[in-house]
Symmetry: C2
Subunit: 339 residues, 2 copies
DNA sequence: GTGAAAGCGCTAACAG
DNA sequence: CTGTTAGCGCTTTCAC
């Protein structure tokens, strides 16, 4: 049978209260000798706390929920790992919720997490859904629950909220600047969905870089993708009859599509066309032609998100914070100087 | 404030017990009219069950734990997704535990999961640890807790246990057969750690294929890797002065290393050397030279693992089952016929 | 220095 | 057809 705090109390000839105080290292005026005795006894009898009881009593679960679209995506997996590593250090747990971009499923998760007295939620749903009404009703549900939340990326909130973010405008800027500084002037862009704020920011950064070089922006060299490999391929099909010397794919997956799209037209990277990506997927370093890209410190963002959440759970009146992370240009072999 | 079952009971002029029965759709002899009344009331008052109380009362958490070495690894991410999708269908939750191959961390997780009244654990730690004593003590701990367990891959248990497995001997066999049927006779093998049972099985399958062709096995063309990209690279460095026309890397990550290792020596795939992998990582399909490989139905295995666990939790006296999945040869562009 | 008692929200047996 | 009662294991005043 499971050993409870009462069992220990009985064995020690003490009350459950005393045992509880000792085992939780609470400030109390209990003699060192009984403290010792209780701890030894607990050890010997194989005591393990029952979290459900603690949870019921204190309304604390020492558990956070992570809501992501897809854990197979390296970006979210890395974020999850950051969160999870920090939780582990703190002896917390993490419940993984993958929504497959379904707002209904998201709603179910939010309610389930609430029922579990979750102590915080890390939201990494970047994409607003087609059905916006459910989307916003989920937000409201979430906010009404008064559980600490930390959001990644998306920042278009009216309410103050915890967030870990990157300055994507700057990311777009430095990537474009890199191409410009290598002499490229005809640059094609394969963007993310225009409905996403972060995707818009990246593109704005690109435009700013053009402006800083006094170049005029050419919309016909912009293809709107959806962050998938396929849309990278499609982008090249769209661009094939246009003139350009470099492609900026606004995430790495699309850059891989670009690679293969270009090779279909017998164009090689970087000899014929320079390619730059965005994200620094772990794969980008090991491609036959390693990809130049912009790195987001996703793992660190995950850790920080967990830190914020756990802190907020333990200090309920903390003001929301937005932590910003630096993007970094990683130069590899897929971009080259031209004249 | 949170609405409880007692609040509803009061509002309805009934007892908490009645409300509980209705809200859980338990077989009972409660009139349809009061049923309706309670449900409407619960809805109106915004009732949400408190799982901690249910958990404490019933010792059930409707939660399973997944223990994996690393969620960034596509294999485990896919497995996790399978589990999680099934859990979601059943309204269960999944706690993610990544061990980074640390047996100590694994131990901590096991204890934490136990404390949470976890209803089942999916173990996907394929690698026995260097320190075998902790490793086995973890197993014993796990078994002593009498929680349903489902193991993937590793099957060298004395005790009967639930498992989802692939016949890796056969996988090694069909991959090797593929190369042999294309005319290759000098085949190099880059294997997994010999300490792993599954790695051994794969290699045994390779040997059986050789035997079936009446060919003699050549140990000098075998390099023992550790399933990492780097060890694929190293394998080629080791093999570079030997004669071979094909390489079988016993997982896809190493195959990517092989790709890049070969290109270092100006050998191209498949013109000079045919390459076959194992796993069917999502990437293998989108490489510039898409990789021929053996597919494990990992997602389905995850789903099945969740099914087994949830079933076992609900029917405590079920006998352990081992479900075996079919491996499949996926022929792409990295292997070619020679004469 | 330590103990008694109450109660978190829910369920399960039994009693009407 | 529905209510009463007891209790899951733990924490937390407050009392001694």
């Amino acid at each position: 049978m499971k050993v409870t705090i009462t069992d220990i109390a009985q064995a020690a000839g003490l009350s459950p209260a005393t045992v509880s105080l000792v085992l939780n290292n609470r400030p109390s005026r209990i003699s060192e000798s009984t403290k010792k005795r209780i701890k030894v006894l607990a050890q010997e009898m194989g005591y393990r706390p029952n979290f459900a009881a603690v949870n019921l009593r204190t309304s604390r679960s020492y558990t956070i929920g992570l809501i992501v679209p897809d854990i197979r995506n390296d970006h979210y997996a890395t974020y999850a790992k950051g969160l999870e590593d920090f939780c582990q250090e703190m002896n917390w747990s993490m419940i993984l919720c993958t929504t497959n971009q379904s707002p209904l499923r998201e709603k179910q998760y939010i309610e389930a997490l609430y029922a579990k007295n979750i102590d915080g939620i890390a939201l990494a749903t970047t994409a607003p859904y087609a059905d916006n009404s459910i989307y916003t009703s989920n937000r409201e549900l979430l906010l009404s629950m008064k559980i600490p939340i930390v959001q990644s990326d998306l920042t278009n909130y009216k309410e103050p909220i915890n967030a870990v973010v990157c300055d994507h405008e700057k990311g777009g800027y430095i990537a474009t600047l890199h191409l410009l500084s290598l002499g490229h002037r005809k640059i094609a862009f394969i963007t993310g969905p225009s409905s996403l704020e972060a995707a818009q920011s990246r593109l704005n950064g690109c435009k700013r870089a053009f402006k800083s070089y006094n170049l005029k922006w050419n919309d016909s060299l912009v293809y709107e993708g959806d962050y998938t490999y396929e849309s990278g391929l499609n982008g090249i099909d769209y661009l094939c009859d246009k003139e350009f010397t470099a492609v900026f794919a606004l995430n790495d997956s699309m850059a891989y599509g670009v690679y293969n799209g270009l090779s279909k037209y017998n164009l090689s990277v970087p000899e014929d066309i320079s390619v730059i990506g965005y994200d620094d997927h772990f794969l980008s370093a090991i491609l036959t032609v390693p990809l130049t890209t912009i790195r987001q410190p996703v793992y660190e963002m995950g850790k920080e998100a967990a830190r914020i959440l756990i802190h907020a759970a333990e200090h309920p009146d903390t003001k929301p914070v937005i932590t910003s992370f630096e993007l970094k240009l990683i130069v590899r072999k897929s971009t080259r100087k031209i004249n």
